[in-house]
């Protein structure tokens, strides 16, 4: 993978305009959202800066708008654009964090199960299958529900983001474990692994130094796809009111807030965050597709 990037990466990338556009969109969103305090025209969740007088203003190109609010304001007079940037930051954080957690657990399980085989493999993969029988949303709901009941309300609301990462990450590791295990089974049969054994290298170093770099390709592709899934799961949970608190809404929570006013003509509060979520997810999927094709020599 890495030696290939040096020679063909830019050529293959520039040959796919869709991927260039998608990567650009992701880049803009990541920059815009992570640096939200710099880019956002307002601080939407600071009560001192919002005025109820500015409520329900439409986007600038509509009649009766205010140039200070590019994409309009919501019922409480918060700037929709700023809320989207801050909300997107939470969505991206949860997406990346959850996938990172899934990758760590899934790779550990998959490497062990695939390399040692036999009983280790049987036990680990049965656990994975049991986990797989529960839909991710259900696990996240359960996790969220338990913590909400056990933790004090103020700690719970502050810990919303880590809890979401934990809940979604724990629900998503099985796919990584499976794909890693399958790749390890292939790599283990290769002669270079036998050569390592012949040299007498410890098992741990064979797994980490020799096998792991060779299975990162499929993991990378799955991770890109799973980021999109995790973002959607987070949005779903927040939409259901189980995610981030309304004082610090993610994209899902913004959509939920906006959806209540959709039929009162205040469409911008729901359409803009919704579009942003859609574009973000589609862009991640398209880039993941390209990475998969790029890493598969048979398709080139």
């Amino acid at each position: 993978m890495f030696e290939k990037i040096r020679s063909d990466f830019w050529y293959e990338l520039l040959n796919s305009p869709v991927t260039v556009v998608s990567s650009f969109i992701i880049l803009m969103m990541v920059i815009g959202c992570t640096a939200a305090p710099i880019f956002a025209p307002h601080t939407p969740f600071d009560p001192a800066t919002i005025s109820i007088m500015d409520n329900n203003l439409p986007p600038v190109w509509e009649a009766g708008s205010d140039p200070r609010f590019l994409l309009g304001t919501d019922l409480q007079g918060r700037d929709v654009l700023s809320a989207m940037l801050y909300g997107g930051r939470i969505s991206l954080l949860v997406g990346l964090g959850a996938v990172a957690l899934s990758v760590v657990i899934g790779m550990a399980v998959g490497l062990f199960a695939g390399y040692f085989g036999g009983m280790t493999d049987a036990v680990l993969m049965r656990i994975a299958e049991i986990q797989f029988a529960f839909p991710p949303i259900l696990i996240a709901l359960l996790f969220n529900g338990i913590l909400k009941a056990t933790l004090p309300a103020d700690i719970f609301s502050q810990a919303a983001v880590p809890i979401m990462i934990l809940a979604i990450g724990l629900a998503g590791w099985v796919q990584f474990a499976r794909i890693v295990r399958a790749s390890v089974l292939v790599q283990r049969g290769q002669d270079y692994v036998t050569a390592c054994q012949a040299i007498g290298l410890p098992t741990f170093s064979i797994i980490l130094r020799h096998i792991t770099p060779n299975i990162l390709g499929p993991v990378l592709v799955l991770a890109m796809l799973q980021i999109a899934v995790a973002i959607v799961t987070e949005a779903t949970l927040s939409f259901l009111g189980l995610g981030t608190p309304l004082t610090e809404p993610s994209l899902g929570a913004l959509i939920q807030i906006g959806s209540q006013y959709l039929f009162s003509g205040v469409w911008w509060v729901v359409i803009f965050p919704g579009t942003m979520l859609l574009v973000m997810v589609v862009a991640f999927n398209l880039v993941a597709d390209w990475v998969r094709d790029y890493l598969n020599p048979r398709l080139r």
Partner: protein, 564 residues
């Protein structure tokens, strides 16, 4: 000239690439007559398969014919549409592929595949086609054809499967048959039968056959005329006897000279030891002073592999892959281990190097004691340092994510044989010792050819200063000219470093060149084991005799008269 069947004229095939077009075949002229086998020989990358595919109209994307003509019975195939080509394939041109495993559909019975092809290609009703298919199977020498029609490909052996593939290629009664390495995946004893069958079909049906292969032995026994190719160009052509016995081009001469002979042991693989440099002193450091006695002895060994139960309540059964009497390898000797695929020779090799445990029996090393008694990490490490392996496939035996210097430094570091300071120098010296530039260490494995990779594998094995080297088919994946270099290198290293070797191979000719003693394996058992010269000159068992008789020899051609 009515017997002229197929002709290529100034054929040029190009594979466009963004870094410049790659010309795979250039200015190639060939003629195939009816009732004649034309051999197309060359090393890997010579473009021989590309020509076969081009005649079939099956060039892989993005390759295309950029100039020249292909005539079939006087009709130019260049410019025919894909649909017209599809009509020709099967009906006028048949193809036999290398791997009989993948060229049959595993989910259809042999009868279904064959009768369907016949029905489609000859435009007749299925019941009638079925009857014809039975005839055809019978015709390619499959006993009990009627019964076997209902069996699936996996129920056939490799040779039988290749016969089915031939019957399939003949389903539309083509005029021209293209056989692309038809016997490369088969054992020697089966190879001969399949080649005889191809010759028989060619003569009887007065077909033109293009036999594409890298194996000079196969081609010299089968073909009437030979085209020698190199780098996409024709080197030499002529009747088989002329090309084999009196080649006019240097390349052909080198190619023929590189083929190890099964009939004698040749001197050119036994180079005198080079003057031992600094690196040889390092490699010999810590070796035992004496070099006599047994390096390795075993008791009777068996290895069973369990077979998956066929049903839930079924008894689990096992398959005995290895079942051999006691074996010894003397210090400094090369023991050759030959056998056909599935004979258990690789498994035995891995048992003898301690990579897998035998089911019963024990292996014990002169310097380390019995394998079963080696329990401490330290003793294990000492054994692992002493015993190294060179594998068959140079592509899978190097980790493609690591640089060459990392690959070579890791074992040295792990066994504490050199400090960090001297590592760079040492790695360079090792690479030079196996015939690569000292600065190759900065590259990745994919930047090397198969032969170069195999040299790196040898360097890696040497890097821990081993006393015993298992070579598991080290040259099977290489071209003959490179094979010769590799054998010379291994033999030279063995002389200079006094290595003990176990040389596993299916190729009797190669084993003869390198071994002091030879063991022949069949179905997990050692059929005979004796001094190499004695074994080749007067084999002690019928099986060995049969292997020696069926091995293809350069310059020993079957004429069509012999067959009829």
């Amino acid at each position: 000239m009515t017997d002229l069947l197929c002709k290529t004229e100034n054929l040029q095939i190009t594979f466009p690439h963004r870094l410049g077009d790659f010309v795979a075949v250039q200015g190639f002229d060939m003629e195939v007559r009816r009732g004649e086998i034309v051999g197309l020989i060359g090393e890997s990358g010579a473009g021989k398969s590309t020509i076969g595919n081009a005649i079939m109209g099956l060039l892989s994307h993005p390759g295309k014919i950029t100039s020249g003509n292909i005539y079939l019975d006087g009709e130019n195939l260049i410019g025919t549409s894909d649909a017209q080509m599809a009509q020709l394939r099967g009906r006028r041109i048949g193809m036999i592929f290398q791997d009989p495993m993948t060229s049959l559909n595993p989910l259809m019975t042999v009868g279904e595949q064959l009768s369907e092809s016949i029905a489609l290609l000859q435009d007749i009703a299925l019941p009638k086609a079925w009857a014809m298919a039975v005839d055809r199977l019978d015709g390619v020498g499959i006993p009990d054809a009627e019964k076997r029609m209902d069996q699936y490909p996996h129920e056939f052996s490799g040779g039988m499967r290749q016969r089915v593939v031939i019957a399939l290629a003949m389903a539309g009664d083509p005029d021209l048959l293209i056989a692309d390495e038809p016997t490369t995946a088969l054992d020697v004893s089966v190879q001969k039968q399949v080649l005889d069958l191809i010759r028989q079909i060619c003569v009887k049906g007065s077909l033109g056959v293009v036999l594409v292969t890298h194996d000079m032995g196969v081609i010299s026994e089968t073909a009437d005329r030979i085209y020698v190719m190199r780098h996409g160009k024709l080197v030499e052509t002529g009747p088989t006897e002329q090309v084999i016995e009196a080649p006019s081009e240097q390349y052909t001469k080198d190619l023929i000279a590189a083929i190890p002979s099964i009939d004698r042991r040749e001197d050119r693989f036994v180079n005198p030891p080079k003057k031992t440099g600094e690196i040889d002193q390092w490699l010999l450091k810590g070796g035992p002073a004496h070099n006599d006695g047994d390096y390795l002895t075993t008791s009777a060994l068996t290895k069973d592999f369990s077979i998956r139960k066929t049903s839930f309540w079924g008894k689990s059964s096992s398959f005995r892959a290895v079942n051999v009497e006691a074996l010894t390898i003397k210090r400094g000797e090369v023991l050759g281990l030959v056998g056909e695929s599935g004979s258990g020779k690789s498994t035995l090799g891995r048992i003898l190097t301690g990579l897998i445990k035998p089911s019963t029996g024990s292996v014990s090393f002169g310097d380390h004691g019995a394998l079963a008694d080696i329990k401490s990490a330290r003793a294990r490490k000492a054994l692992r340092r002493d015993v190294q392996v060179v594998f068959q496939d140079p592509y899978s035996s190097l980790n493609s994510r690591m640089r060459i210097d990392q690959i070579l430094a890791e074992p040295i570091q792990f066994h504490g044989l050199a400090g960090k300071a001297e590592m760079g120098h040492l790695v360079g010296a090792l690479l030079e010792r196996v015939g690569l530039p000292a600065d190759s260490g900065r590259k990745f494995p994919h930047q090397f050819s198969g032969g170069q990779r195999q040299r790196i594998c040898i360097a890696r094995a040497l890097s821990v200063r081993p006393r015993f080297l298992l070579c598991d088919e080290p040259t099977s994946a290489l071209d003959v000219s490179i094979q010769a270099d590799m054998l010379a290198l291994l033999m030279e290293l063995r002389r200079s470093l006094g290595l003990t070797m176990l040389f596993v191979s299916h190729d009797l000719a190669v084993v003869r060149q390198v071994s002091d003693r030879v063991a022949v394996m069949k179905a997990g058992q050692i059929v005979e084991c004796q001094d190499a010269e004695a074994l080749y000159n007067a084999p002690g068992s019928n099986y060995t005799q049969m292997l020696l008789d069926t091995a293809p020899r350069v310059g020993a051609r079957n004429t069509s008269e012999q067959i009829n």
